[in-house]
């Protein structure tokens, strides 16, 4: 039992990130509504962020901000005490990118709606083929 539990603990994050990514990707491909697709896109991106953050986690380590005790001169900082800062850093960038994309996609949706009065992909396709 404890084996199973430890396996689950060890991999749960990775499994669920895959599931989340699949949900996002499915939403992106299969959904009909453009805004829904954008949501799927965002879920997809968050899944990746989840993946990275999971990589960076260390058990029994602190958040990547140095404690005042460690800032004293001559104290050797032990790497195992702090969570990997690099993944956080990378993901900051990724979040920013996803927000930018999200905002811009929303603006596009507004623009498309202005023009075609619909956001459904099949209706849009119909409108386009009519023209």
């Amino acid at each position: 039992m404890s084996d199973v539990l430890s396996l689950i603990i060890a991999k749960y994050n990775y499994w669920l990130y895959v599931i989340l990514m699949m949900i996002g990707l499915y939403g992106m491909i299969a959904k009909n509504n453009l805004i829904k697709k954008v949501v799927g896109m965002n879920i997809f991106q968050t899944a990746i962020i989840l993946f990275y953050v999971s990589i960076g986690y260390k058990t029994n380590a602190s958040i990547p901000i140095i404690t005042t005790a460690d800032t004293a001169h001559g104290v050797v900082v032990r790497a195992a005490d702090y969570i990997n800062p690099l993944t956080s850093c990378l993901m900051l960038t990724a979040i920013v990118v996803s927000v930018a994309t999200f905002g811009y996609a929303m603006a596009l949706a507004v623009r498309i709606y202005q023009r075609y009065q619909t956001l459904e992909e099949d209706e849009l396709r119909m409108r386009l083929s009519e023209e």
Partner: protein, 493 residues
């Protein structure tokens, strides 16, 4: 100065932002500022190329941090060539497309130049960087700027094309990011050279395999290799001329460059071809891509769209060459990066000139264009010949290497596909030429109620660049031996 590598990327970046600032203060300044930036960038790129040819790869540490810790630029011959190409094309295009941008984008043009420069910055950065994650960020800036530019073209179709582009672009970039994540998981590093060292001897690792597949898949999506090409035609067709002129030559080519970089620098030849044995399958895929692109181009009525499908086909060339697994194929692929960029540039310059005068470029609208815009058509014809692969133009020579590579590997299907694709291109372009050559404008007069009655030659600024680039196709073709010997072969060794 030691800082040429930084200048290549930073000059267009800063000037782009400055232009963005000056839009709100003094609109007229933004264009000269942007132009200066690109000029500086192009000059620096040439400097760097000369230096690299002279004294080998250059390493530039950003922030002064040495590689695995900080981000580095690593410029070798391949980089330097692509850098020159990108900055040169961008600079020329900005001159050539100024009027067209004013016409199409109107009062927004001055803000538009900012986006343009950022786009170029992205492309240059993608080419120059030696860091896997930095590459992702730069891919994203490239993508985001291109989404923005695509949406600015056709007022009706542009936004939709842009949104679809976003979806696929995000999938591509995210796949790449995931791949980088898996690599990071395996190695703990993000620097390309460092990863390459750490990854050695990881033959059976599922993590590395997944990372490899994800990275390559992501890049393929971004470069619009055949099954993933759906976004490309609409995005390029409905974008403004100034953008399609620069994105068509550069975007896919830079992505191919990234693919080659990943293959050679990061994962290594040995891993891909000796451990995974993927060459066969990918070359088949490329074969299909080459043919499919051509066939789909045949079905198009809009000239711009037709050309975009040709780009899809050209991507097949480069991917096939790169995955051939021998030196000749890779030489062909790299040479084709250069040549294809030039010829698509020439082609789109000419098409841009047409669009400037006729607005809609359905093939049937081109009647009698040889008489009305002879110089533009001259450029167009040269570029088309290059695409078809008529000898003195450069398109022939890269095809030459590609076919040789295919023969050496025994991939006769790929060689055949190249030949067939040449024929298809010939059919395509001569279809266009026929219309331009034969149909005199008399039909135009019948329907003179709509459409401009008098079509005349495009403005001189547009023409000169178009003509020069078209002529450079021949020059590049003639000197392709030099390029191969001074840049590509030393690089591959």
């Amino acid at each position: 100065m030691e800082n040429y590598p930084a200048l290549i990327v930073v000059a267009p970046f800063i000037t782009g932002l400055l232009a963005g600032l000056f839009v709100w203060i003094e609109k007229r300044l933004s264009y000269p500022i942007v132009l200066t930036g690109l000029f500086v960038s192009a000059l620096s790129a040439i400097q760097v190329l000369i230096r690299v040819i002279g004294s080998g790869p250059i390493q530039y540490k950003l922030g002064g941090w040495s590689p695995p810790i900080g981000i580095e630029y690593r410029i070798d011959l391949l980089n330097a060539m692509v850098l020159c190409l990108v900055s040169g094309v961008a600079f020329l295009n900005l001159i050539a497309s100024y009027k067209s941008a004013l016409k199409e984008i109107g009062d927004r043009a001055s803000s538009y130049f900012t986006v343009y420069n950022l786009f170029i910055t992205g492309l240059l950065g993608v080419t120059i960087t030696g860091d896997l994650f930095n590459l992702y960020v730069l891919i994203e800036i490239t993508s985001l700027t291109s989404y923005a530019q695509v949406a600015m073209g056709d007022r009706d179709r542009g936004p939709l094309a842009s949104l679809n582009y976003i979806f696929i672009g995000v999938i591509g970039a995210s796949f790449y990011l995931l791949g980088v994540g898996y690599l990071y998981m395996y190695t703990g590093s993000l620097n390309m050279a460092d990863v390459a060292v750490l990854i050695k001897g990881s033959q059976g690792s599922s993590t590395v395999l997944t990372a490899f597949i994800l990275c390559i898949l992501g890049i393929w999506i971004k470069m619009a290799l055949f099954p993933f090409h759906v976004w490309l035609p609409n995005a390029y067709t409905y974008s403004p001329v100034i953008f399609s002129r620069v994105v068509a030559p550069l975007m896919t080519k830079v992505m191919v460059y990234i693919m080659i970089r990943l293959m050679i620098t990061v994962f290594g030849y040995d891993y891909i071809f000796n451990t995974l044995h993927l060459s066969e399958a990918v070359v088949w895929l490329a074969t299909i891509a080459v043919l499919a692109g051509g066939v789909m181009a045949l079905a198009q009525k809009n000239l711009k769209k037709m050309l975009t499908y040709i780009i899809v086909s050209e991507i097949g060339y480069m991917v096939g060459g790169a995955w051939m697994g021998n030196q000749l194929g890779m030489t062909g692929a790299i040479l084709h990066i250069f040549n294809d960029a030039l010829m698509t540039f020439a082609l789109f310059l000419a098409v841009g000139n047409m669009v400037y005068r006729i607005e809609k470029v359905d093939i049937t609208d081109l009647k009698g264009l040889f008489g009305k815009m002879p110089w533009t058509m001259g450029g167009f014809v040269l570029a088309a010949f290059s695409i078809i692969g008529v000898p003195p133009t450069c398109g022939f020579f890269s095809k030459w290497y590609l076919i040789l590579g295919a023969l050496e590997k025994g991939a006769y299907h790929f060689a055949a596909a190249l030949i067939v694709s040449s024929l298809i291109c010939a059919v395509l372009f001569f279809k266009v030429f026929e219309i331009c050559f034969f149909e005199s404008g008399s039909h135009g007069h019948e329907h003179s109620s709509h459409g401009p009655a008098v079509i005349e030659e495009a403005p001189v600024s547009m023409l000169v660049i178009s003509g020069l680039v078209s002529l450079s196709l021949i020059v590049a073709g003639c000197y392709s031996g030099t390029i191969v010997n001074t840049i590509i072969l030393p690089f591959l060794k």
